[in-house]
Symmetry: C2
Subunit: 362 residues, 2 copies
């Protein structure tokens, strides 16, 4: 029996109701049903309807299930870029999206600021040639976040045809997006939704769909089974092209239902309150300091701190008390820690972590 | 509580030990561990080592985990074909692989025989220009199979540079392949491995890897995160590029361990014995007849029968006794049934199905 509480930034703690939903799935033999059955269509529809409610998704948005957010990067470029994309980069994941465009043989431009920094949005110019503008709302590697009000400024900055993509992999459902100001938002289920990994969710509007159709009509190869039109044609019937991760789609529907019962506002308030608790501690700690200096740019869901004690040592000492935080990302592995503050982490667990950190470190 | 026994051709019955492994996974919090942790590397290595043992995979083969066999089709073309592939087609899935090449803008040729038929392999000529030869060992849609001895003839038929791919999506670990005669074999875990869907497994040799590297060196775009070199660089460290379906990789390792304990020969013998039982019944039934006429081309794992009673009616009557078979594929939805005979289906369950079919139908 593993009693550790995982404050790692994803995979992380499972949402508290997941074990019971997993048991129900076993009893109901969800792992055995056909992905072409009516039962699967209901599972698919339930997950989509729940997400629409939770995120207040407008009618002109569709919901697609892919294997990972990493896959979504590739499909986004393949399907909605002919020549050029533009990326805000301030960490490892936003850099990977930028590199994905290049790997697919297209032109990528970027506006980059140092790791751990947010952006001075008013000062950013978007090239008129950018067909896709990749915004990073929450950089999981560095803990830098972009306020929704600043995301909303990009519609005016970009050309009228440009599609605005938002990486909310490790933040949704926390940010209350104005979906009319952007064109696509994506996330992974193993972050704030507290699910086993293996599913990326792509929310995209009619403008993205029209772009993919236009590129296909012009003869551009937009992929095979996971082109936007191929996925949509099945999604309209509450199905997927391939045999998908049925269990995760089932669990997502159940967890989103639980989140809707609690209410997204309550979840957001709780997230902010827990984040304040952690940042207040980091501010007064002699061992840790918030990695992101500007409080406006600090992520409430993936909280990164510089540490004077090596991250591996921090975790070694926390392990005695059945707790784990994330190590820093890449070259910051030992000099930073990352603390996930997801809906699955109860206020009591967060309080216990902060108390323990206070006790163990100066 | 759902007590139905699923003889559907995948998703299908879970391997009998899956519920207990799933419970262990919950207790050990496998859903929460990082995909960059030592614990995950051990899970990955355990699954790969188990598969190597079960399938007697030679040293020059690597094992890659993707999201589905559908994805493997796309990655195979992207990574190992510059201009042209050649496909044996005798059903919906072999046709989809053929179409995938075309969707990716390359040339595909095919040798096609009618649905429900196997191939006259000695009479097939492989175009010298084919870089990838796609064989369909087990066509899940029609129940037609290709004997391993006939697969082994293609090395001589194809040009020396050609890569021979084998679709064993719904048959492995049943066929005892001579891996030296082919270059890549792939399968899905929701078929004969009795796992929840969401994982495709690609076994590929050094020749496939060299081809991908050569194409990349020549400037061909071979994809981004799931190019063969990108996947391999992580696989060498027992990791994946993206956050994968960790739970399914864990369960695969556990089920393969169970299969190795039983022994692959015992599993194969049991599969053949159960298949004989089903085919003997179909041969003497007045309602059902084996869809594949030539006994040499009948699949032991996905058994398809023409039915005089509509498939939906067959399932309606079986449902009263907590059993389900698959309906026919596509336009054969009502005129054929498909019976999965996977390792998860015990001899007792297969006997019970045959007895019930005898009782219910003339």
């Amino acid at each position: 029996m593993n009693n550790k509480v995982y404050f790692t930034p994803g995979p992380s703690e499972l949402y508290p109701t997941v074990p019971q939903h997993m048991n129900t799935a076993l009893q109901e033999k969800i792992g055995s049903i056909s992905h072409r059955s009516k039962q699967f269509q209901e599972i698919f529809a339930h997950a989509v309807a729940g997400l629409r409610q939770l995120l207040q998704l407008p009618e002109n948005y569709e919901v697609l299930f892919l294997a990972s957010a990493t896959e979504i990067w590739e499909r986004a470029i393949q399907n909605t870029v002919q020549q050029e994309s533009f990326h805000l980069v301030n960490g490892s994941f936003s850099a990977r999206f930028f590199e994905t465009t290049q790997e697919l043989g297209l032109k990528a431009q970027k506006h980059e600021v140092p790791f751990s920094e947010g952006f001075d949005v008013p000062g950013i110019t978007v090239p008129a040639s950018a067909e896709l503008v990749a915004l990073i709302q929450n950089e999981t590697s560095s803990g830098a976040a972009m306020p929704v009000a600043e995301i909303n400024l990009f519609r005016e900055k970009a050309s009228s045809d440009a599609l605005i993509y938002v990486d909310a992999v490790s933040s949704l459902p926390n940010p209350a997006f104005d979906f009319s100001k952007v064109d696509a938002v994506y996330f992974s289920v193993q972050k704030c939704f507290g699910l086993p990994a293996g599913l990326g969710v792509w929310l995209l509007n009619d403008r993205c769909i029209a772009k993919a159709e236009a590129l296909a009509a012009q003869g551009q190869t937009i992929g095979s089974y996971h082109s936007i039109p191929a996925m949509l044609s099945k999604a309209k019937a509450n199905q997927t092209v391939e045999t998908p991760n049925v269990l995760d789609i089932y669990l997502l529907g159940k967890v989103v239902e639980d989140m809707n019962s609690k209410g997204v506002e309550a979840i957001r308030e709780e997230t902010e309150a827990k984040a304040s608790l952690i940042y207040e501690y980091l501010e007064q700690s002699k061992t840790f300091t918030p990695a992101v200096e500007n409080p406006q740019h600090r992520s409430p869901t993936t909280i990164v701190a510089n540490t004077l004690v090596p991250a591996s040592e921090v975790n070694k000492r926390l392990a005695e008390f059945d707790m784990a935080v994330g190590s820093g990302y890449g070259k910051y592995k030992e000099t930073q820690i990352r603390i996930a503050n997801f809906p699955a982490h109860s206020p009591e667990q967060v309080k216990a972590l902060v108390e323990k950190l206070k006790e163990l470190f100066e």
